[in-house]
Amino acid sequence: MRELMNTVGEALYLLVSFDPALWEIIGVSFRVSLTAIFAALPPSLLIALLLARVAFPGRWFAISLVNTFMAVPTVVVGLVLFMLLSRSGPLGEWQLLFTQRAMIMGQFLLAMPVLIAMLHSTLQSIDQRAWETARQLGAGWWSSLWLLIREARFGVIAAVLAAFGRIIAEVGSAVMIGGNIEHFTRTITTAIALETLKGKFAQGLALGLVLLLLALVLNVLLGVMRGRGHQTVSA
């Protein structure tokens, strides 16, 4: 018990004393995940708009496919990317394996299905009149699309928060294609998963607290956004 209390104390000290090694790991995590989410947002928005607004044959199959991808374990994404990026794989020449870019690619792939699924449902709930009104008032095609996204902004933010929560907390693909290399690809989750093996319990706990705090903030924001999103839809 005393051992545990000591570890907790040490973890808190690492956090508040801005231990450089700890905050470097946190920095890598945020850099990778934020880049991935912002890279994934535009294509996800387009696909979601397509699924929500355009009736084309096979649409329901496409939606089921997105939902299926959402359930793919992160290690499977990691495995597939590893095979693609490996020296013996088809994309081996890019020499991306064990770099932050490779991790961003992995998280990009993990974020897309979550983003598309959530954006799809939020864009679907937008009133048909919004599009018609914009077009009647002389808005161009892209302006009207942008208007739809603005009208759904709380839903969009909620989707971004949810996807961000998923990718920053995932460990499977981060270990496999990032490699947990110190100063380069060591993220919060890979550090917890692998550094704890070294007996660095305090650091693991401190990083765990960061994730916990992040989850709390994300969920509170998500709650607020969902609330406002509902208001918007019902108004």
Partner: protein, 282 residues
């Protein structure tokens, strides 16, 4: 309905009783390094031990640092590790008792076939490490506080350099993952011969340096101090340790082959010469 289900429930309950009963008495928890586990040595040895003894051994393959930590916390009954310095501290601090040398193997330095740092063929590990640092070569370190990393750190120290050169990467992972990474990144790394032999067919790497006495790698078995923790299976642990250093255990270790190569040399109670290991394989 309930009556119909009763035999099933009873059977289930009985199964649990038997299973838990078996667990409490007979399980020996062994924390050991990834090198002994990955090479297949334990899979080869332990069934033979379990045949003649009323114990079942659960292996927890981790780095030496974590293995010793598990021992210190009383989470395992016995450790089998290869980091003489850390093991000495472990015993001196009273966390472990009855240390016995069991066997040794050796480390090798591996790297890409085109050898950009030009260390291939040497037999001086220290000089090879100094060259790697000077050249800023890509080097993947275990970085997981394992016996292998401790050995690596000694070599950096002996080479009079610190591992902060441009190509140095600390992976914080097991030997297999690090070898894969070295192969993918075409870098150098230090590996135990067992894992190397087990994996080399899948790797795009070659042996660069071997046979140096500095690459000697002795294994010790140490019981977790029963006075520090309750509920340890010290009896079983001792049976395992004594069996490992018995004639039977030692003969089996010597007879173990991986890809037809000798990996481990039984060395209970003797001083050993690591260069012998290499010569036998060549």
């Amino acid at each position: 309905m309930l009556q119909r289900r009763f035999p099933l429930l009873a059977a289930l309950a009985l199964t649990f009783l038997l299973a838990s009963g078996a667990q409490a008495a007979d399980i020996v928890r062994l924390a050991t390094t990834t090198s002994t586990y990955n090479s297949g040595l334990l899979d080869y040895l332990l069934p033979k031990f379990e045949q003649d003894h009323p114990y079942q051994v659960q292996v927890i393959p981790v780095g030496t640092g974590k293995a010793l930590r598990l021992g210190r916390d009383g989470d395992v009954d016995v450790v089998l590790t290869h980091a003489p310095g850390a093991e000495k501290a472990f015993v001196d601090a009273g966390y472990g008792v009855e240390p016995h040398g069991v066997m040794y193997n050796d480390f090798v330095i591996v790297g890409p076939a085109d050898d950009p740092a030009g260390i291939e063929g040497g037999d001086d590990a220290t000089r090879a490490f100094a060259t790697l640092a000077d050249e800023g070569a890509t080097f993947i370190s275990r970085g997981d506080d394992s016996g292998t990393e401790k050995k690596e750190n000694h070599l950096w120290q002996d080479a009079g350099t610190t591992p902060d050169f441009e190509g140095y990467r600390s992976a914080g992972q097991g030997m297999g993952a690090v070898l894969n990474m070295a192969s993918e990144l075409q870098g150098y790394t230090l590996t135990d011969r067992g894992t190397w032999l087990a994996m080399k067919d899948k790797l795009d790497l070659e042996i660069m340096v071997e046979g140096d006495k500095a690459l000697f790698n002795p294994y010790q078995v140490i019981l977790v101090n029963p006075e520090r923790h309750e509920g340890l299976n010290t009896q079983g642990a001792r049976a395992l340790a004594e069996w490992l250093i018995s004639d039977e255990g030692q003969d089996l270790i010597d007879a173990f082959r991986l890809n037809d190569k000798v990996l481990f040399h039984a060395s209970a109670g003797e001083k050993v010469d690591p260069s012998a290991a290499v010569q036998e394989n060549d």
